[in-house]
Amino acid sequence: MNNAIEILLVEDNPDDLELALFALKKNNFANRIHVARDGEEALDFLFCRNGHDGRSFENPPRVVLLDLKLPKVDGLEVLRAIKQDPRTKAVPVVVMTSSKQQRDMVEGYQLGVNSYIQKPIDFAEFREIIGQLGYYWLVINQAPPPDAFK
């Protein structure tokens, strides 16, 4: 349990990735983070395939931080795949994106996103948000029980 992954961070942009990791680190959530650099990687990880065969559906990440603009399979497709499969459906997904495009928000919520966050331009604000996010999903929120992943 202890070395289980708690956060799956899906981010293609290296700057964003660095800043996100920086912010998580500053908020003491740096351990047990798995980074996926595109949608395909994220899905391979979540569906325990292509190099992630050793993982099991019973041990999903506590939260998925999902960017929307991703190479190969974009963020909303990833979200759809997660939320349409009963084995991954219960995994909390937080969309983190630059824009607050109405279209994306509507679709994201229709697909069952658990939270939708626009990355603010002000980095201090971003850090703050990341801190609150980690605290909420990893500390406050009760993770779904194993039966939720069947």
Partner: protein, 731 residues
């Protein structure tokens, strides 16, 4: 009393009585006259005899002048009582002797009269000369009293009178009885005639009393009655027929007495004039007054001419009814003339010919329409033979009426349309109206398109006797339709093309804004983040100048981010479909004021919010309007120690406008038109921050709601923004 007017009964009695009286009077008059004459003669003879005797006996007494003898002779007259006086005159005229002697001398004539007799009143006087031989001795005078004799005559007359009266009474009784035989049948006839004339009963018959002339007269009279009855019945019948005919034909009759000028109308004529009995005073002028002013002179002239030339009176005229409607009437009449040939009456009949008139007008109008129609109107019989051909047909098909009439309709039907023509004709014969578009061929062989209507021509019994074909040349229309079709097809293609282009552009735009929203913000975030990280790293060693640079970098990033957000918002407003939800503007305003709170927390702002209407609009967009306008008001009152922001409604013409008034810095109205343009700012960025996109967005939203926005401002005094929205009216 005129004898003529005396009843016949009395007339008969008069005749009989008059006759009897005359006869009796003549008879008794003759009798009495004869008696009187005889009587006179007898008396005279007696008296003359006595006088002769006395005279003969007296000669000696006279010649001897012996008075005594004379008296003695005269005294012998006592035997004759009728002789009342006697006297003997001597030659010298003196009296010798008198009788009666005691009678005074003076009673006797003084001198002897001339010889002869003389009748006096109730007396007869005689003077007779007394002679001896031829010698005249003297004169004898005798006077006889006739009274007793006249008494006899009177008695005689009385008897005659009595007999006469008796005879007359008998005659009266007889005549009374006899006249009945004559007068009764006559009276009966008179009575019958009277009853016939009073009761108009021609069925009574006079009683016949005998076979005399009266009897045959009665027969003739009864026969005449019978004939009169028959004729009367016939007359009644024909009168009834006439009345029914007049009534059925709605004919009014009139009778104009030319001499009195009185014009009499029957009930129906009143109806024809739209008037009630009694409305018309019978004057010819009044009658003329009822006519259309244009017809009066003509009718008057026609009437006078009919009278003068002894022709029929025939006139048509319009009558103005009291309800102001005009009716066409036709009158026809004849005059009656007296024995000198002078017209005494003009009488005749009048008919309402309005319908006929209108029908005739309608017919001539129809004929005019047919002949003047641009359409070809062709009549065909049931065998398809052309029977009528109007001018339009001549123009359209190139055949004259002479050429076309009598030909088969195949003259103008192209061969490939024969079947269509035959089928259409069959359907029309079944009473249907056929409408179709087809081709026709002209005389010169050219083809053209027509729109045709086949309608059945029916006779009065409703049987179809032919077909009316109404054709209109639609070549132009067909050509135009062809062109329109081509144009439409082209247009459609162009639209499809353009739509595709637009869709592509739109997609590009969308993709562009999508990537802008992501990709323009991401670097900004990175710049800000790394600038901050840099600042953090250099925390201890950084100079205050460098720190300011970093701050300037970060502020630029913030501004840029805001600008990106605003532009994205503006472009989104242009693309979204607006919602129409019932929205309470007051709650929107309250929400916005609350949202803006962080911006004015430290300031003193007096918010004055009036009641605002509720209307159908896009709540999200309207909220953006208020966000922009109210945040502007907050922003531009920043320099005021005491800001006043009013939100309310105001009637502007027929519209209701919402206004947002502030007592901020305002602006010069000459720049007002720039205010709503994108990136247009009236203030320096260092005084009041802003992207110059907000009011452009507001205007866009207001325009989407089919409203308008305008502003009133004064530099340093404040600004008032007004806007209207569709469906927002004064309460």
């Amino acid at each position: 009393m005129n004898l003529r007017n005396v009843p016949i009964k009395r007339k008969l009695v008069y005749v009989i009585m008059l006759t009897s009286t005359v006869v009796l009077l003549l008879t008794s008059g003759t009798l009495i006259t004869y008696e009187l004459f005889t009587f006179h003669r007898t008396i005279l003879q007696n008296a003359a005899t006595i006088a002769q005797i006395i005279a003969a006996n007296s000669t000696s007494a006279l010649s001897f002048d012996n008075e005594k003898v004379g008296a003695e002779i005269l005294s012998k007259l006592e035997a004759e009582p009728s002789i009342v006086m006697a006297c003997l005159y001597k030659k010298d005229g003196s009296k010798l002797a008198r009788y009666p002697s005691e009678q005074p001398r003076s009673d006797f004539p003084a001198k002897p009269g001339t010889e002869g007799h003389r009748f006096e009143k109730n007396a007869l006087q005689i003077f007779l000369p007394v002679r001896e031989g031829d010698a005249w001795q003297g004169t004898l005078f005798l006077k006889l009293d006739l009274t007793p004799m006249y008494s006899r005559v009177v008695l005689y007359g009385g008897i005659v009178g009595g007999v006469m009266i008796g005879a007359l009474l008998i005659a009266l009784a007889l005549s009374n009885w006899l006249q009945k035989g004559i007068s009764e049948p006559i009276l009966e006839l008179a009575e019958t005639a009277k009853s016939v004339s009073v009761n108009k009963n021609y069925l009574v018959r006079a009683r016949k009393y005998g076979t005399d002339e009266l009897g045959s007269f009665t027969d003739s009279f009864n026969h005449m009655l019978m004939q009169i009855h028959d004729r009367d019945a016939a007359l009644r019948q024909s009168e009834e027929r006439l009345r029914l005919t007049l009534e059925a034909s709605e004919t009014g009759t009139w009778d104009w007495d030319v001499q009195t000028g009185f014009l009499e109308w029957d009930d129906f004529l009143y109806k024809l004039f739209g008037r009630k009995r009694g409305d018309f005073d019978g004057r010819f002028e009044t009658f003329l007054g009822y006519l259309h002013p244009e017809d009066r002179a003509a009718v008057s002239r026609l009437a006078n001419r009919a009278l003068a030339e002894k022709t029929d009176f025939v006139a048509e005229y319009r009558v103005l009814w009291p309800d102001k409607s005009y009716h066409y009437l036709a009158s026809r009449g004849n005059a009656l003339y007296d024995e000198r040939g002078k017209a005494v009456r003009l009488l005749g009949v009048t008919l309402d010919v309005t319908e006929a008139k209108e029908a005739a007008e309608g017919l001539s109008l129809l004929a005019a329409i047919v002949s003047s129609s641009d359409d070809a109107i062709v009549g065909k019989d049931l065998f398809g033979t052309i029977v009528s051909w109007n001018v339009g047909a001549e123009r359209m098909f190139g055949y004259t009426a002479e050429e076309a009439i009598g030909s088969k309709s195949t003259l103008i039907v192209p061969q490939d349309r024969y079947d269509e023509e035959v089928q259409a004709l069959q359907r029309v014969q079944q009473g249907k109206i056929e409408h179709f578009e087809t081709r026709r061929v002209r005389k010169d062989g050219s083809f053209f398109f027509v729109s045709i209507t086949f309608s059945p021509i029916r006779n009065a019994e409703g049987a179809t006797i032919g077909v009316s074909a109404n054709s209109r040349d639609i070549s132009d229309r067909i050509r135009a339709e062809e062109e329109i079709r081509t144009l439409n097809a082209e247009l459609e293609e162009r639209v499809i093309q353009r739509t595709a282009e637009l869709a592509a552009t739109n997609q590009e735009l969308e993709a562009f804004t999508y990537s802008v929203s992501h990709d323009l913000r991401a670097p900004l975030r990175h710049i800000d983040a790394f600038a901050q990280l840099l600042e953090d790293e250099l925390k201890e060693t950084i100079s205050s100048g460098n720190r300011r640079y970093i701050e300037r970098i970060r502020r630029g990033v913030q501004n840029m981010g805001q600008l990106v957000d605003d532009l994205l918002n503006l472009s989104r407003v242009g693309r979204v479909e607006i919602a129409r939800d019932e929205t309470d503007l007051n709650s929107v305003v309250e929400e916005v004021v609350a949202d803006l709170k962080p911006e004015y927390e430290s300031r003193e702002i007096n918010w004055s919010i009036e009641a605002l209407p509720s209307l159908k609009c896009d709540p999200g967009l309207i909220k953006q309007v208020f966000i922009n306008l109210l945040s502007n008001a907050v922003k531009y009152t920043r320099t005021r120690p005491k800001a006043v922001i009013e939100i309310g409604q105001k009637r502007v013409g027929r519209e209701l406008a919402i206004f947002i008034r502030d007592n901020g810095v305002g602006f010069n109205m000459k720049y007002a038109d720039k205010l709503f343009g994108v990136f247009q700012r009236l203030h320096r960025a260092e005084d009041f921050e802003g992207t110059g996109v907000g009011l452009a967005t507001v205007q866009r939203i207001i325009q989407l709601h089919e409203g308008r926005i305008w502003v009133e401002a004064e530099l340093d005094k404040g600004a008032t923004f007004y806007f209207t929205l569709k469906g927002m009216h004064p309460l």
